[in-house]
C-alpha cells in the first residue's frame, strides 16, 4: 500500500467515523469531539480536518435549534391574543438588519409608541435573525433601567411577523449630537457629550451586572431625549454571557434569564465561532475576528472608546474625515491594526481624554479598562479635573490636578507638607537603614577571624534578646543593658574587639527603640576607636554614621550634623568620598539640615550629590529616588512649590514600574505622598492612597511594620479631617498598641502615637483620656531629652488643648507658653504649632475673662501674622474686640 492510498483510506475512514460521531452526538451518547478523536488515534488528524470543514459547511445543529426555537416561540405568540389591532401605524423611523422600526399610536391608551417589526419569517437561514429579534425583545424587557427603553408587548402580526412595542424616544441620536458639536450648534460641547457617554456607561454597567453585553454600541444606538434623558437602544445583538464567564461569576443570581441563557450550552453555539456581528468601526478586534468566546464586557468598553474617538476626532475610527468606506473595508482596517492615532487626529483634544480613549480601545482585551465602571470613573475624573489614571497615575498627578483646581489654597497649605513628610517618611527611612546596618555589621563581624568567636557570641546574644518574641520592649532593653554591662566589664576583650561589640550593641539598642542608650554605646565605641593605633577609619566612619543616625532620632540635629560631617571627613580620608557609606552620609546630612532648618546647607549637599549623579548617570536608581524626594522637600521649604512638585514627579518617574507594588521603597514613597496629600487638604485622595498602602502591606508584613503604621496614621489624619473620628480613633489605638509592643512606653514613636490618639479623642470630646495620653507623651519625650523637638512641641500643644478643654486654665497656659517659647527658640516662623498655641492661648484667656492677658496674646499673634495672610483680618477683628473689652 502506497502512502497516498493509505492516506486516502484514512480520510475515507475518518469520513465514515465522523458521520457516526454526529449520529452519536445527536443521540446524546458522545458530545466531546476530542474525546472521540482520542478513541481513533490512527486518523485523529483526519477527523479533525474533516470536522472543521463540516463546521464551516453548516447549517449546524445550533442553527437548527435556533430555527426550531424561533418557530416554537412564534407559534406560542401566535396562539395568544395581542393588541396589534389597537395600534395605528405611522411612519418608518428606522431600519436595521433584523427589522424595521415604525411609529405607532395606541388608540386605546392614546399614547405614541414605537414598534419594531421583524423583517423575516423563521425559515432556513432567517432563523438566526428571528431568534435574535425575539431575544432582543426578551433581553430588553428584562433590563429594567432608566437608560433602557422598556418593551411593552411582544407579539406576531397577522402576516406572521414578530413585533414588539416600546416607548418612543423623541430626541436625537448621539451621531447627530456629534454632528452638532462639530458645527458648534445648539450648545453641544465635548464635555456635555462626555456626560452623555457617562450615562451610557451607567446603563452598560447595569446590563453587564445582569450578564448582558450589548455588542453593537455606536452613536446611532444612543438616543438623547429632549429633556436630557439618555437611552441605549437596539439590544438585538446583545450577548447573554454564559454562566461560566467571569462577569457572570461575579454577578451570579442577577443574570438575565432569557431563553438563551436557560440553556447555556446551546447559547455557546448560538453565536458560532467565526460569527461576526456588530458595526465595524466600533467593533473590538475580538469581535471583528468573530472570536465569540472572548467577547465580554470589555467588548463594550472598546465600543465606548470608539465613540469617544469619534467625538474627539470628528470622524469614526478607521475612517478618514469625510470618508465613508464600505463596512468590509472598515473591518479589514480594524483587523489590520489600531486606528489612526487619536492624538494626531484630534490635536486639540485633552490628552487625558486621548489616553482614556486609547486605553478603552486597546487591541489586547487585557489592556483595556476591566469594566465600564472603570472607564466611567476616568471620564468622571476628567470632568471633575481630577487625575485620569490612563493619562498619568500616581499621587504626583493627583497633587498637580488638585493644585490646578485650588491654586490659592494649595499655596497656603504646601508649607505644612515638609513637616508631615519629614516626620513620616524620614523615620521610616532611618529605620530601614538601621535594619541594613545590622545586617552589614553581622557580615563584617563574621569575616574578622581574630574576634569572630567572641563577637559572634555577644552579637548573637544581643540580637536574640532584641528579637525574641517572648520579651516585651522593656524586657528587651533591660536584657540589653545587662549584656552591655557584662561586655564592658569583660577584661578579656581587646580594645578593637570591645569597640566592635559596643557598636553591635548600639545597633541592637537602636533597633530595640532605645536611641539614648544606643548613642551612649556608640560614643563609647568611638572613644575607643580614636585611640587605636593605627586608626581604623572604616570603623570610625561607620560608628560616626550610626551615632549621627540615633542623634537624628533624638532630634539632636546639631550633634548629628557634626557627627555626619566627621563621618564624611573620615570617608574622604579613606579615599571613599563617593562610595558607600559616604553617599548615604551626604543624604543624611540633607535630612539633618532640613531638621535644623538650615535650608542652604541642605541645598548645598543636595546639589553636590545631584552633580555627582549627573556625571555618573546615577539618577535612575533608588538613591536617585531618595535624592529627588529630598530636592522636593527642600524646594517646598523654600516656597518653590512648582520645583517641589517637579522633583516629586522625577522621583515617581524613576520608580516607574521597576519596583513591585509591595516594595519597601515604593510603599515608603507612597506613604509619604499620602501624607503630603493629606497636608494638601486632599483628604479623600490621601485616604485612598493610604488604604492602598495598608492593603499591600497587611498580610505581607508584620502588624508593626513601619509602612503599615505610618499609613494608618496618615489615614487617621485624613479621616479626622473628613469628620470620621471614630474610624480614626480605632486606627490610632491600633497604631499605639503596635508601637507600645515594639518599643515600650518611652519611645518617641510611642509619644507621637499617643499624641495622635489624644488629638482624635479631643475631637470626640474624651478630654480626660486625651489629657492622660498627652501627659504620658510629654513626660516620655522629656525623659528622653527630646525637649524642643518637633514631637515634643506638638505633644505639649495637644496637652495644652486637653487642659483647655477641661478648663484647666493655668496648666493650659503653661503648656501653650512653653510651646511658644520652644518654637521661638527654633527661629521665627519655625512652627505653625507655635502660632496655633498663641491662638489657643488667646482663647483660654478670653474664656477665663483674663482680658489683659488675652490682649497681650492677641497682639503677639498679630505680630507673627503676615498682613497679607487670610487669617490676618480675622485676628485683627478679634484683637479689636478684645481691646474694646479691656477698655470697658
Amino acid at each position: 500500500m502506497t502512502n497516498q492510498s493509505s492516506r486516502e483510506e484514512r480520510f475515507a475512514r475518518a469520513a465514515t467515523l465522523l458521520a457516526e460521531y454526529y449520529q452519536l452526538r445527536e443521540s446524546g451518547d458522545f458530545s466531546d469531539f476530542e474525546a472521540f478523536c482520542a478513541t481513533e488515534p490512527e486518523c485523529a488528524a483526519e477527523l479533525r480536518g474533516l470536522h472543521e470543514q463540516c463546521q464551516r459547511l453548516g447549517p449546524n445543529d445550533d442553527d437548527v435549534r435556533l430555527h426550531e426555537r424561533a418557530e416554537k416561540l412564534l407559534s406560542e405568540l401566535q396562539g395568544r391574543p395581542n393588541r396589534f389591532g389597537d395600534y395605528e401605524r405611522g411612519d418608518e423611523i428606522g431600519r436595521g438588519g433584523m427589522g424595521l422600526v415604525v411609529a405607532i399610536r395606541d388608540r386605546v391608551l392614546r399614547r405614541e409608541m414605537a414598534m419594531k417589526l421583524a423583517l423575516d419569517r423563521p425559515s432556513g437561514p432567517d432563523a438566526r435573525r428571528i431568534e435574535r429579534f425575539l431575544e432582543e425583545a426578551q433581553i430588553t424587557s428584562q433590563l429594567d433601567h432608566p437608560g433602557i427603553v422598556p418593551v411593552h408587548e411582544l407579539g406576531v402580526d397577522p402576516e406572521g411577523r414578530a413585533y414588539f412595542t416600546m416607548r418612543r424616544v423623541e430626541g436625537r441620536n448621539l451621531s447627530e449630537v456629534f454632528a452638532l458639536i462639530r458645527s458648534g450648534r445648539e450648545g453641544w460641547t465635548v464635555p456635555r457629550a462626555i456626560n452623555v457617554l457617562l450615562r451610557v456607561c451607567e446603563t452598560l454597567e447595569y446590563a453587564h451586572s445582569r450578564g448582558v453585553v450589548h455588542r453593537d454600541l455606536k452613536p446611532s444606538n444612543v438616543m438623547v431625549g429632549r429633556f436630557g434623558e439618555v437611552f441605549v437602544m437596539d439590544w438585538g445583538l446583545a450577548k447573554v454571557l454564559s454562566r461560566s464567564t467571569e462577569l457572570a461569576e461575579e454577578q451570579r443570581g442577577e443574570q438575565v434569564a432569557t431563553h438563551r441563557s436557560e440553556s447555556s450550552t446551546d447559547h455557546a453555539g448560538a453565536t458560532v465561532e467565526g460569527d461576526v456581528m456588530g458595526t465595524p468601526a466600533y467593533m473590538s478586534p475580538e469581535q471583528a475576528l468573530g472570536n465569540v468566546a472572548r467577547v465580554d464586557a470589555r467588548t463594550d468598553v472598546y465600543a465606548m472608546g470608539a465613540m469617544l474617538y469619534e467625538l474627539l476626532a470628528g470622524h469614526r475610527p478607521f475612517c478618514g474625515p469625510e470618508e465613508s468606506p464600505p463596512p468590509a473595508v472598515v473591518r479589514a482596517r480594524a483587523l489590520a491594526g489600531p486606528p489612526a492615532p487619536l492624538g494626531r487626529q484630534a490635536p486639540t483634544a485633552a490628552p487625558e481624554l486621548v489616553a482614556v480613549c486609547e486605553k478603552a480601545m486597546a487591541r489586547s482585551i487585557e489592556l483595556r479598562y476591566a469594566s465600564v465602571a472603570e472607564l466611567r470613573a476616568e471620564l468622571n475624573a476628567f470632568l471633575e479635573q481630577r487625575v485620569v489614571g490612563a493619562y498619568r497615575t500616581g499621587p504626583w498627578a493627583e497633587a498637580r490636578k488638585w493644585v490646578a483646581r485650588n491654586r490659592a489654597f494649595a499655596a497656603s497649605l504646601l508649607g505644612v507638607l515638609a513637616l508631615v513628610v519629614i516626620g513620616g517618611g524620614g523615620f521610616a527611612t532611618v529605620r530601614a537603614e538601621h535594619g541594613r546596618a545590622v545586617a552589614r555589621e553581622q557580615a563584617i563581624a563574621s569575616t574578622e577571624r581574630e574576634t569572630a568567636q567572641t563577637i559572634a557570641t555577644h552579637f548573637d546574644n544581643a540580637l536574640r534578646v532584641v528579637f525574641d518574641g517572648r520579651l516585651d520592649a522593656t524586657q528587651r532593653r533591660d536584657r540589653l543593658a545587662q549584656l552591655s554591662g557584662q561586655l564592658a566589664s569583660d577584661q578579656r576583650l581587646s580594645p578593637a574587639t570591645k569597640a566592635r561589640v559596643l557598636r553591635s550593641l548600639g545597633e541592637a539598642l537602636r533597633v530595640a527603640g532605645d536611641p539614648r542608650t544606643a548613642a551612649a554605646r556608640f560614643s563609647e565605641c568611638l572613644q575607643i576607636l580614636v585611640q587605636l593605633s593605627p586608626r581604623d577609619s572604616s570603623s570610625e566612619l561607620l560608628v560616626l554614621n550610626a551615632l549621627a543616625d540615633v542623634e537624628c532620632q533624638l532630634a539632636h540635629f546639631d550633634d548629628a550634623a557634626a557627627h555626619f560631617e566627621q563621618a564624611l571627613d573620615a570617608a574622604r580620608q579613606a579615599g571613599r568620598s563617593w562610595v558607600e557609606p559616604a553617599l548615604t552620609i551626604r543624604s543624611n546630612l540633607i535630612d539633618v539640615h532640613l531638621g535644623r532648618n538650615d535650608l542652604d546647607a541642605a541645598q548645598t549637599y543636595a546639589d553636590e550629590i545631584g552633580r555627582w549623579f549627573d556625571a555618573n548617570d546615577a539618577w535612575n536608581s533608588p538613591n536617585g529616588v531618595a535624592l529627588a524626594n529630598q530636592f522636593g522637600r527642600i524646594a517646598r521649604r523654600q516656597d518653590r512649590f512648582a520645583d517641589a512638585l517637579t522633583w516629586f514627579q522625577v522621583s515617581l518617574d524613576i520608580i516607574g514600574d521597576k519596583l513591585p507594588m509591595n516594595d519597601d521603597v515604593r510603599l515608603t514613597m507612597e506613604g509619604n505622598v499620602a501624607a503630603t496629600l493629606q497636608g494638601l487638604g486632599m483628604h479623600r485622595e490621601s485616604e485612598t492612597l493610604a488604604q492602598s498602602v495598608i492593603a499591600r502591606t497587611e498580610g505581607l508584613a508584620p502588624s508593626d511594620h513601619p509602612h503599615l503604621l505610618a499609613a494608618l496614621e496618615t489615614l487617621s489624619a485624613a479621616l479626622l479631617d473628613l469628620g470620621r473620628e471614630r474610624e480614626a480613633e480605632a486606627h490610632l489605638r491600633r497604631v499605639l498598641a503596635a508601637r507600645l509592643a515594639s518599643f515600650g512606653s518611652d519611645h518617641p514613636e510611642v509619644a507621637k502615637a499617643r499624641a495622635n490618639l489624644a488629638t482624635a479623642l479631643l475631637k470626640l470630646q474624651c478630654e480626660d483620656e486625651a489629657l492622660e495620653l498627652a501627659t504620658q507623651a510629654t513626660n516620655s519625650l522629656e525623659r528622653q531629652v527630646q525637649i524642643g523637638s518637633h514631637d515634643h512641641v506638638r505633644v505639649l500643644h495637644v496637652r495644652g488643648r486637653a487642659h483647655a478643654a477641661l478648663g484647666h486654665v493655668e496648666p493650659a497656659v503653661t503648656d501653650f507658653e512653653r510651646v511658644i517659647a520652644l518654637t521661638d527658640a527654633r527661629g521665627p516662623g519655625a512652627s505653625p504649632v507655635g502660632e496655633g498655641s498663641l491662638e489657643e492661648l488667646v482663647a483660654v484667656f478670653v474664656a477665663a475673662g483674663r482680658w489683659d492677658e488675652a490682649q497681650h496674646s492677641i497682639e503677639r499673634l498679630l505680630a507673627v501674622t503676615p498682613p497679607q495672610s487670610a487669617s490676618h483680618a480675622a485676628r485683627e477683628a478679634q484683637a479689636r474686640a478684645i481691646r474694646e473689652r479691656v477698655q470697658r
Binding site: F11, H67, S123, P125
Partner: protein
C-alpha cells in the same frame, strides 16, 4: 479535445475578467462536445425529461454554472474541464428527473447559499475580505464536491438544504423522513462532502472523475 489546454484556461481567465466574448468562445468550444456526449451516453435520461425542459437547456445551464465556479477551481486543461462538464450535466439531468427545478422553491438560486458557508449575522458582518474570499472558495469547492457524491438522494438532500435553503420539515417531507431524521442524514453526508472538498483542494480531481466515471459505467 476541442482545442489546446492553454486556450481553455486562458478563456476562463478572460471570462472571469469580464470578457464576455471569452464565455461565448468557451461555450462554442465545449457545448457541441457536451451535447454529443449527452446524446450518445445520456440518451435514456434525456428521453425521460419533460417536454418543457429541453435537455440542451440543462446542458447549457450546467455549463454556465460550472464556469461560474471555476475561478475557485482552475481546470488543468480543456480535457479535464470537459470531463467535469460531463459529470455535472449528468447530475443535473438526474436531478431534473427526480425534482424539476421549477417545482422547487421560488427564487432559489442554483448555487450554494451564502449563508451555508459564509459568515452570518447582520448585513455589516461580511466585510473581512480574506474571510469572504475563503468562504467563496469553500462555496465553490462545496458545489464541485457535491457533484461527486455517489448517491442521488444525498446530492439532492444537500442541494435542498444548502442551495435551496429548505427547512428540515420540508427536506424531510421530500424524502418521507421526520425533520430530525432528515437533519441526521444531512449530517452523515457532510463528512463525505468535506472529504471530496479536501481531495479537490489537493488536486485529486482526476481520481474523483475516474471514480465517478467507473460508477456511471457500472
Amino acid at each position: 479535445m476541442p482545442e489546446n489546454a492553454d486556450q481553455t484556461v486562458e478563456l476562463l481567465q478572460r471570462w472571469h475578467a469580464n470578457d464576455s466574448t471569452a464565455l461565448a468562445k468557451l461555450l462554442e468550444n465545449h457545448l457541441p462536445l457536451l451535447r454529443d456526449y449527452v446524446r450518445s451516453r445520456l440518451h435514456p435520461l434525456t428521453q425521460r425529461l419533460s417536454r418543457e425542459l429541453d435537455a440542451s437547456d440543462v446542458v447549457q445551464t450546467t455549463a454556465v454554472q460550472l464556469l461560474q465556479y471555476t475561478p475557485k477551481f482552475r481546470p488543468r486543461d480543456g480535457a479535464q474541464f470537459q470531463a467535469l462538464l460531463r459529470t455535472f450535466v449528468e447530475n443535473a439531468l438526474r436531478n431534473e428527473l427526480r425534482a424539476p427545478r421549477h417545482r422547487r422553491r421560488d427564487g432559489a438560486t442554483s448555487q450554494f447559499s451564502a449563508h451555508v458557508v459564509d459568515m452570518r449575522g447582520s448585513s455589516d458582518s461580511s466585510g473581512r475580505p480574506d474571510r469572504a474570499a475563503e468562504k467563496a472558495e469553500d462555496r465553490a469547492l462545496a458545489w464541485l464536491a457535491l457533484q461527486f457524491l455517489e448517491d442521488d438522494d444525498d446530492r439532492e438532500l444537500v442541494e435542498l438544504v444548502a442551495v435551496d435553503e429548505c427547512g428540515w420539515a420540508e427536506v424531510g417531507a421530500r424524502f418521507n423522513l421526520a425533520p430530525d431524521a432528515a437533519r441526521m442524514r444531512y449530517k452523515r453526508v457532510l463528512p463525505r462532502l468535506a472529504n471530496y472538498m479536501r481531495r479537490l483542494r489537493e488536486g485529486g480531481v482526476d481520481e474523483l472523475l475516474a471514480a465517478r466515471h467507473r460508477m456511471s459505467s457500472s
